[in-house]
């Protein structure tokens, strides 16, 4: 296949800002029908309008992936808009309250919220979306993760634990779905110049941060690659001046 993205149906959570927005734009440019999920209707509508103005197809679903009743409503609305989903990008995530706290100072409710958005939401939505992919014999699940999942950064405990668990879900899913045609990949986009990053590290040097648009292009290339990354692989994207993309099993 030359371009498995063109003509495909892609569902992206956290689609109104940062990497999700950039992915929506990039995938629509590559010919995908894009469905974006986010909590804030206004910002989301702006992204959809931007994609449509560029000649792409985009649809908005206003929902909170942490809402336990949202998964089937999101899956249903997305399939009503574009048909069966070929690619799900679990991108929505929360840092929890900023400034980030030491784990011993982290409220239990804040850990709950991080797990609800970053782990349980993707779990529920993947369950609702991956089934028909398996039935049809093809599809891709992308979990957007972070090096906080593998490195013990102080104050990133709740976020890092949720992302580490998300990666493990991805690996086990990849193992269980071997031979079905459905791929599951964990993608670490690196440090990007986004509002989330500014919330976490307000005094970061923005010149050292990656542009989400460039990261999004790398992810589109990853989706188009034949053969793509190994099932369950963790792909680290680094688009700095000496940027590179590395996959590790």
């Amino acid at each position: 296949m030359n371009n498995p993205v063109a003509g495909s149906n892609v569902l992206i959570t956290g689609g109104s800002r940062g990497l999700g927005r950039a992915l929506g734009l990039a995938l629509a440019r590559a010919g995908a029908r894009v469905v974006l999920v986010a909590r804030h209707a206004g910002e989301l509508a702006d992204v959809v309008a931007e994609i449509r103005a560029a000649g792409g197809e985009a649809h908005a679903i206003v929902a909170d992936v942490a809402d336990k009743n949202a998964a089937h409503a999101i899956a249903g609305q997305a399939a009503a808009a574009v048909g069966s989903i070929d690619v799900l990008v679990n991108n929505a995530s929360t840092l929890g309250p900023v400034p980030l706290r030491l784990l011993l100072d982290t409220d239990c409710e804040d850990l709950d919220r991080a797990l609800a958005v970053n782990l349980v939401g993707p779990f529920r939505l993947t369950k609702a979306v991956a089934g028909p992919m398996v039935l049809r014999g093809g599809g891709t699940i992308v979990n957007v993760t972070s090096d906080a999942a593998t490195e013990a950064y102080e104050r990133w405990g709740a976020y890092g634990a949720s992302k580490a668990a998300l990666e493990q879900l991805g690996r086990v899913w990849a193992a269980e779905l071997a031979g079905t045609g459905v791929r599951v990949v964990n993608v670490d986009p690196g440090e990007m110049d986004t509002r989330m990053h500014a919330d976490a590290i307000p005094d970061a040097n923005r010149a050292e941060l990656a542009d989400p648009a460039r990261v999004a292009n790398e992810i589109v290339a990853l989706l188009q690659a034949e053969p793509g990354p190994a099932p369950g692989a963790r792909v680290a994207i680094r688009t700095g001046p000496s940027g590179s993309t590395e996959a590790s099993p």
Binding site: A73, G83, S84, P132, V134
Partner: protein, 363 residues
């Protein structure tokens, strides 16, 4: 038989009555075996094809009121376009009452407005069959209408249930496009554990999408006309899989009435089974001779239900009566959250004898 009043603890572990129309007549009961759904793969063989309906279930019950403040429930029954659905109107009350006990809605003319939470609709047309069967034109269309339906709608459910049904409870594990107004429930007990076990055994899967309508409305004039013509879409891969399976002597097993209606409805058309969209008003009677479907996985049905006559087309009336009596004695549960039946020629010829293997495994 009694209806199941709630969902089973595990979706894929309910009773299963296997009915083999080709089994020897003696000894009595040789054509039946009672087991549970996790054993389903034992009764299919490499080269068989399981065809499922991948329609997701729409939250198709909308409760609201008309301009005069009269309570109205609309149950969507068919999609008619970007901003339109056919719907059945019911009066005051909710699913706790039997539909036939619900008061009819106030008589509403074409052009009357209905309000369902934030969603507004207008009666665009009324069917000749009954003034309660209407076409609703919603103030929103497309994405906005679907968002409103998922916000305001609830799954259609009936009075035998013990509690509100959440949306997840009316979806199969492979549900994709929201085309069904009641769950294609024959597939509800299928888990990935079962589906992947079937595949490991060499059984293929295929899917189609069929817009299952309502099974009962409480309006005798509408109920007499059910099922209405329903739309379906059959992918080219499914047509290929059916053709290859039959050419190689495998069996095509339909999961549910909707799959039988779509495949047999399409096969009965000029040119035979073809890929693509269509509508079918096919009603399967005991005299119906299927052209492409060999067997069916179904919910458990009692002899007075309409689905029962469809099962008779596969099992024959005598064997099905024996099976129904067995299910009745054994306390099988019916309806969308109930137990299962598999009618399949040869199902018991190759299946391991579970009584023997069970004793063989005993310590």
């Amino acid at each position: 038989m009694k209806p199941a009043t709630t969902y089973p603890e595990r979706r894929d572990d309910v009773r299963l009555l296997v009915i083999d129309p080709t089994a020897p007549e003696a000894p009595a009961g040789a054509a039946l075996r009672e087991t549970r759904t996790p054993a389903l793969p034992d009764f299919l063989a490499a080269g068989d094809l399981l065809v499922v309906n991948d329609a997701a279930t729409v939250p198709a019950s909308l409760r609201g009121h008309d301009d005069g403040g009269n309570a109205i429930e609309a149950r969507l029954i068919a999609a008619r376009g970007d901003d339109r659905f056919s719907a059945v109107l019911l009066g005051a009350g909710d699913w706790h009452q039997r539909t036939e006990d619900r008061p009819p809605p106030v008589a509403l003319p074409v052009g009357a407005h209905l309000q369902f939470g934030t969603l507004t609709a207008e009666i665009a047309a009324r069917a000749p069959a009954s003034p309660r069967l209407v076409e609703l034109r919603f103030a929103a269309g497309g994405d906005a209408l679907w968002a409103a339906l998922y916000r305001e709608g609830r799954p259609v459910q009936y009075s035998y249930l013990a509690h509100d049904l959440p949306l997840w409870a009316v979806q199969t594990v492979y549900a994709a496009r929201p085309w069904a107004f009641e769950m294609p429930s024959a597939g509800r007990p299928l888990s990935w554990e079962i589906l992947l076990a079937l595949r490991r055994k060499g059984v293929r899967w295929a899917s189609l999408t069929h817009a299952a309508g309502l099974s009962s409305t409480g309006d005798p004039a509408i109920d007499a006309a059910l099922p209405l013509a329903e739309r379906y879409e059959i992918p080219a891969a499914t047509v290929r899989a059916v053709t290859e399976t039959r050419a190689r002597g495998g069996r095509v097993v339909a999961v549910g009435t909707t799959v039988v209606r779509a495949l047999e409805g399409a096969a009965a058309k000029e040119g035979g089974l073809r890929a693509g969209p269509g509508d079918t008003d096919l009603i399967i009677t005991p005299a119906f001779r299927p052209r492409v479907v060999d067997g069916i996985l179904s919910g458990a049905h009692a002899a007075h239900e309409s689905h029962f006559s469809l099962l008779a087309a596969f099992a024959g009336p005598d064997l099905l009566a024996t099976a129904a009596a067995h299910a009745e004695r054994a306390g099988f549960l019916t309806h969308e959250l109930g137990d299962s039946m598999l009618v399949l020629p040869g199902a018991l010829a190759t299946a391991p004898d579970q009584r023997r293997s069970a004793s063989g495994n005993a310590p």
